[in-house]
Structure formats: C-alpha cells, structure tokens
Symmetry: C2
C-alpha cells in the first residue's frame, strides 16, 4: 500500500486509460490529469504507470501507450468512488502542517494557490494582478512563476500555459500553529466591501464537511466584484475566517503584526470571545480572525474576461524563492 495521494492518482490514471478506446501515452495522461485538477508531471505519470503495470492493471503496447486490463477494470470500479471522496479540511490540515515559514529567519514554506494562464494572456493578467495587489487585494505581493515542462513542486504546467503561485490566506494558520496557537479555517465566504472596508460576510460555506473548497465554489459561481470594489470602494471580495482560543488573542496579534513586516498581511481584525465577527458565527471561548483571501488578485483577472484557472490552497512553496510580480 503506497501513500493515499499516490493511490488516488493511480485510480485517476486508470480511469483516463479506461475512458479511451485506444492506447494512451504518458503525455496525454499528464494533460488530462491536469484538467482533472491533479498536479502531476509527465515524469511522475510514467512512475505511476510502472506501478499499474506491475499490479497487472495496465498493459504497455510499445511506444504507443497503455490500455487497461480486465483486472484493472475491476479494480477501477471498486476503488474509484471511495478514493475520490475526501474532505477538503483534511488536505488543508496537511498543508498547514507543511507550512513551516519562520518569520524570524525568513526561511520555510508558505501555502499557495496555483493559477494557470495562457502564455498569450500572461502580460495582461500580470498587469491586473499587480493592480489588484497594489490595492490590497492579496496576502503578499510576492508570486511564484512556473513555466511549462517544470516538474518543480510537483506542479505540472501544460504546454502553452504559465502557472502562477500566490500566497494563500491559510498561510496564517500555518504561522499561528508554528507559534503554538491551535487553529483551523472555519468558513470561506463572500465579503461585502463598503468604502474600501470589509463590511461583513454575505455568504459563508463551512470548511468542514465539504469535499469542494468553499473558495472554489465562490470562484465558480463568479460571485466576486473585486475590480468594482477596488474602483468604487464597494463590491464583493473573497475572505475566510478561523477560530483560535480566546486566551491566545494577544499572542496572535503580535504574530500578525510581525507577519506584516514580512510582507504577509491581509488580516482584517481579531474578534471578541464568542462573538460574531463580520456576521460570521464564532464558538464560545474562541475568537474569530477573518482574513482576506490571497486569491482575490487572480479572481480579478477572470472578472476582466481573461481565462484563468485557479486551484485554491494547492501546495506549499519556499517563500524566499517567490518574487515581486
């Protein structure tokens, strides 16, 4: 038994092969895996294919590709469903654990969203992101740019695309945890901005008990009006909120001020114990910390009519390697 993520990829690769009526090669599989939201490069696909061959689930036909075996078909139908359903909070908890950025040394990983843009649209998209970032619609002004064919960070960039990593607000949960403060994001939501200030959440989706990222749901619904919020002061942006023990309030506040000096900002306020924050409910004995979503700057690109595909809370990246856009 390999690690769960590998198993999930194995199943999805089998599914892709089984859906084709002719043999499929690694390149095509890598493209299709990317379409389905899996970050995996061609080289990694080959590695997975060898495992499948060994298990007798796929068969290699020289250089033209693989087909699925009868045994593979059976395995697929058994494994497929149980393997696809995973709650998003499990993935987020893992990334929070892996985010080890140290505010003092400047070393370590932050959590990033990954957006894919057509190469031809890249300059226009970058202009909009810069514009949005300079108006506070992000967590950090730094981004990671990944060109096609890279296999770095286990992020696969398809031909003709550029991938951009932006710092995700869940990075704050990593920082809180690293400072000994237990935390988990509670809700992702749509924030009404008025006079350039967050006025309150108008929609909320809980992070626990959903297999689809709340922020992804809002992105897909095209619920935001970020450019309008920047231009007129009034509009809808994405934000989320986490709960921490009330007794950790001052430690959290000091930590977040410290983060600001490291270019990691975006937190809105710290709530009072057990009290709603910007209309989001908070449990007794806890305080709520709402933070604007790092993804707002890239969501603005989509509002401008440029095709951009974004995976929130995607992976971790060394903050030192990220650069000003």
């Amino acid at each position: 038994m390999t690690e769960p993520n590998v198993e999930r990829k194995l199943v999805e690769i089998m599914r892709i092969i089984s859906e084709s009526d002719k043999p499929v090669g690694a390149r095509l599989i890598a493209d299709e895996m990317h379409n389905r939201g899996y970050a995996i490069g061609e080289r990694a696909v080959r590695y997975h294919l060898r495992i499948l061959d060994e298990r007798g689930f796929t068969k290699k036909h020289g250089y033209i590709g693989r087909t699925i075996t009868e045994r593979g078909k059976k395995e697929l139908s058994d494994a497929l469903i149980s393997d696809r359903l995973g709650f998003i909070i499990t993935k987020i908890e893992e990334l929070i654990y892996r985010a080890d950025y140290d505010l003092d040394t400047g070393k370590g990983n932050v959590i990033v969203n990954i957006s894919y843009i057509d190469k031809d649209d890249y300059e226009n998209a970058a202009d909009i992101i810069r514009y949005a970032m300079s108006h506070g619609a992000s967590i950090s002004p730094k981004v990671g740019i990944l060109e096609e064919e890279t296999d770095e960070y286990d992020i696969y960039v398809p031909e003709g695309k550029v991938a951009m990593a932006t710092v995700c607000s869940i990075t704050f949960d990593g920082l809180l945890l690293k400072n000994g403060i237990p935390t988990l994001p509670a809700y992702g939501g749509l924030m009404q901005m008025e006079d350039n200030k967050p006025e309150g959440f108008i929609d909320l989706i809980s992070y626990s008990g959903t297999s689809i990222d709340p922020i992804k749901i809002f992105l897909r619904r095209k619920s935001t009006s970020i450019l309008q919020a920047i231009d007129t002061g009034n509009g809808k942006m994405l934000a989320n909120i986490r709960e921490i023990p009330a007794s950790a309030a001052s430690k959290a506040e000091i930590m977040m001020e410290h983060a600001k000096k490291n270019d990691i900002c975006g937190h809105i306020c710290i709530g009072d114990p057990g009290m709603d924050v910007l209309y989001a409910p908070v449990e007794r004995g806890k305080i709520g910390i709402p933070i604007m979503a790092g993804i707002n700057s890239v969501a603005a690109v989509e509002e401008a009519g440029i095709l951009i595909e974004t995976h929130p809370v995607s992976t971790v990246m060394e903050y030192r390697k990220m650069e000003l856009l």
Copy 2:
C-alpha cells in the same frame, strides 16, 4: 418590528430602488426580486412599499415609482449585510416543521423545489421531466404547476414563465419528524450511479454552516449527468443523506415503506449504526439514510439544453393539490 422574512424583503426592495437612477415601480421591483431569489408577487411588493414609505425610507413619485430617501440609504447600509446572511439549515428546519403531510389521511403539506421555465419551453421540459420521473429520478411523480400572475403559496411567477413544484427529498425529514424521529439532513452530494444503482457519493457538502444550498451549488456547477445515468446506467445524480438515532431504524423503515405506497419514494437504504453509508460519514450512535434528490428530474431538463431556474427546498405545498405530470 415585523417578522424576519418581511424585514429581509424590505431591505432587498430598498436595495433595488437604491440601485436605480430613476424611480422604480412595483412591477419592475417584483421582477427583480424574483431574479434575486425572493418569492414575492406584485401585490406583496406594494404592501412592502407602503411600509417603507411609512418609515420614511422611500418616497412615492405619483405613478412613476419610488426613490430611496437619505434616511433609507443609511438604513440600507446598516441593515443590508446582517440581513442577507442566513444559514440554509435554518430555512430547512422551518420547512421540515411546516411539512405536515399525513401518510394515513393523505392530507397536509410536502416540501417542494420550485423551477421556472419559459412558457415556450414548457412542453419539451415536461417531456424530459416525465421521462426522468418514469426512470426513478424523482421522489414523487406528482407536480404542482403555477401559471404567471398567481400569488398562491407566496410564489411569484414572472410574465412568460411557468413555475413547477416538484417534491423535495427533505419531505422525508418532515415525515420522520411527524413520526417522532429526530432528523436533519447532513450532506447534499453528487452520487455516482453504476448499473442503474447508487454506487457512492463522490462529492459532499454539509448542510450545516452554509448560506448556499448544497444542491444549488451542484446544480450551478453543472455536475450532474442524469440523462446519461438513465440511458446507460452510469452517471452522476444528486442525493442527500440524513442521520437519525440508531434505535429508530425499524420505525423509520416501516414509515418509508408506508410512504412508498403514497407515491413518495427515493430512499436508497438505511445504514448501520455509526457506519459510513455510500462513503458518507455517519456519527456514532446514528444511522445514515441517503435519499435521491427530487430535483434530479428537473436537473435533467437543464442537461438537455433548456433554460430552467431551480430553487431547491423552496416552500411547502398541499400534496393533494399536486397532480401527475
């Protein structure tokens, strides 16, 4: 202070008036309220406008319509946000309480979804719904048809549209409650159908802690392949799952068999205590009851390329007044 629902509508009406640069009449407001998901007729809009006038929030300009006053603008900005954020489970609990259908007497209300269809598309849509229903993609073969200008059930049907009420799976929660079994829907989800049988949930969104109905999220994502599931046996349909005390299992089973005789069916199985059902997690001491969504039949219409706008878990309707399509 009037009841919360009225307050919510008052705020939304003020918002519509404030967004226009000229006076707005009741008809236009009713249309726009409908677009925003509020079930309210023109007559009811006039009633609300009189309240707003009395409070000094709007001003009437003869027959051409209303404008918002300065006092209204202030009220709007204060009230707007807190008023819009409501968790969907609160609305569902209220409808479960109002669903008083009695399996013995055949009297009382069931919970319905409301779909709006263009009059010109109605016959084609009805054909598809009948086809889907005859293949089990619904809770009940009965529907309620509402023509434009009706004010029945507080459902507003805009000009040129027909509204269709289909029985919602949450009706089962009403039946369970009426039989003394505590219940609440836990998750809405996407169900993988294989060989015409539910194989397992592949996505789940919790009903608690979201302001957007999970089923509405899946509808908007166009995640279903209901027609394909009917035609080939394999596809994706909508379903949900509720938890009841494990000790109520046999009582629930008898009740659901009874419901089947009343043309109300769609439940898939009854789980074992504390065990996952079709990959959906179930709390210790509880059992999970997954039920196919009543909305599948109307979601199939959208798959066929016909414009249909559906509000899941919308209101209650007397089951006796509903008819075979």
